[in-house]
Symmetry: C2
Subunit: 331 residues, 2 copies
């Protein structure tokens, strides 16, 4: 019943000739990997499925690989951790060639190089369905402080890194085959295909005594609710404060850009809360480093039934997880 | 583009109310898990895909869950490790109900209970393809000794645990809908649906100074070649010594049973090599514990181009990875 592609030829072609971390005791090629582990180990799994998270139209082969690792690195960044290792389970349809699969691994390695990560294991299996890549990433907590979703308290400021909505704009461009590509188009496409997880910023944020942190994979509204619910707090954010790129606003105007920021997702920026005095102290450093971090609102109340409000022209509007003018289409 | 099932209701229903290991610092429900890690951490990923590794005909829902974790536990056993934690990435087609998915998680928990493992993370995603379950398992090495495939040396004995071929026999029964089920049928079916990874035996074997170890997922021939190639040695095994269950021989006769043992796979027993003096010492303990471990041959030569021979009626026959009378159908 089992259809097996020549796993060894792929494994040989992707096995790195040298390792970046000296703490890999047994790497690719045995039943399991063994590492000299950091004391506080972070571990997460994130999966990309063809036709659900990407198509060959929206992502180049190397982009698919790059992003499948980047979304995991982003989870580690949201725990204030430093990424170290990754393992890959890839389910391959017959129609995909070995060369295409190798391009995907090449893209993963491009992401891994940025963060000094080593590929230490995984497997390839056949599937009669779409290409499916499940990546497991391991990292270490350096600060000993947990940047948990449940850390928010009334009075905290709410912040995000970078700009929001770009990835959704890029996806729209890719799906709609715009004839002419300006620099604005290219910028948004790159933000969709090659997001940059905010590892250095996450490591810095984890030094603060109490910070809650999420990475923005599902859109700002949804991520705000995750923190609000885990912390039992309500929140208020300001429309005018939400950072959006000039490229996004040029191409999509104010309303659509806001929609993308609130519900588009896949920006892989960091969202969180911290005491305002810590935020003011942090700003000197972020200016020095050139990091983009913006206050977008405040945690307003401690309560059992958390709500998130968007202040739009001085009117607070109740947000849902799926945005502000419709209920979520998620089931 | 993203279709999302209500991930939270599934996550809530599978989140354990208590943890078996006190070293879970952040469990399910944040961007990533954080553990107080053992010094030598073992990590592996193994995936089961519907229509490739199972169908609803061959496996009950809980069996699917049980086995998707068991195959990972078996990898940890083959590293001489103790399993501790697991994470699950499950890609779910629309046709599968939440209740079915919960039954799969229930089966995983049944396996996890046997080995005192905790579910610490993962995610559910939608797919337009078959159900796909990628499990990441973490464990610890207790002995500090590596049971690597490359540890075999000329003069070592070759051993296997348990009996081989049962899983392939069970699969044949399931695929062919035998009308009457005897105890022999039930025994083989159970061996296919609920394999028992040999964790205690693996932990014991890791105490030996030098042992090579593999778990038998792809069939004896293929696994022997993995050790032979990793160690640059040739091997000789005896047909008569290969342990096969009475149930298998009753139902399939000698020749077909041998075929299943050599190429059937999915037995998840352990295969390995060690110095013969260590094997003799070990036998007292295995008898005492009731563990089944059988010498099936010897490592005969150190050489660059490894070969594995099966002695059949005093004639050595060259095995291929796919068995002895045909070349592998794998590509």
């Amino acid at each position: 019943m089992v259809i097996i592609r020549d796993e060894f030829s792929i494994i040989n072609s992707i096995t790195p000739s040298s390792l970046k971390n000296k703490d890999v005791l047994v790497g690719i090629g045995d039943d399991a990997a063994v590492i000299n582990s950091p004391k506080h180990l972070i571990v997460c799994v994130d999966t990309m499925v063809e036709e659900i998270h990407f198509t060959k139209q929206t992502m180049g082969l190397e982009d698919i690989g790059y992003k499948s690792l980047a979304i995991n690195v982003s989870d580690i960044a949201a725990m204030g951790g430093k990424p170290l290792y990754y393992l890959v389970s890839i389910s391959i349809p017959n129609a995909w060639s070995d060369e295409e699969i190798q391009s995907i691994y090449k893209g993963m390695e491009q992401c891994a190089s940025l963060y000094q990560m080593d590929l230490i294991g995984g497997e390839t299996v056949s599937t009669r369905g779409p290409l499916t890549i499940a990546v497991t990433a391991l990292g270490k907590m350096e600060s000993g402080r947990f940047t948990k979703r449940s850390n928010a308290k009334a009075g905290d400021i709410i912040f995000v890194t970078g700009s929001l909505g770009d990835s959704a704009g890029g996806l729209d461009i890719l799906l709609n085959d715009y004839i002419k590509h300006t620099d604005d188009h290219s910028y948004l496409i790159k933000k969709h295909q090659r997001p940059t997880p905010k590892v250095d910023l996450g490591l810095q944020l984890a030094k603060i005594n109490r910070v809650s942190l999420n990475d923005i994979s599902d859109g700002l509204s949804s991520e705000l609710y995750e923190i609000a619910e885990a912390s039992s707090v309500s929140m208020m954010i300001e429309e005018e404060a939400i950072p959006m790129s000039t490229s996004l606003k040029n191409l999509y105007g104010k309303d659509q850009s806001l929609q993308y920021a609130l519900t588009g997702g896949e920006d892989f920026e960091l969202l969180g809360t911290m005491p305002s005095e810590d935020f003011h102290q942090l700003q000197q450093l972020t200016e020095q480093k050139g990091w983009s971090i913006t206050q977008i609102g405040e945690v307003i109340l401690q309560e059992d039934k958390p709500e998130v409000f968007l202040v739009k022209k001085n009117n607070p509007i109740l947000l849902t997880k799926g945005g502000y003018n419709h209920f979520s289409e998620e089931r």
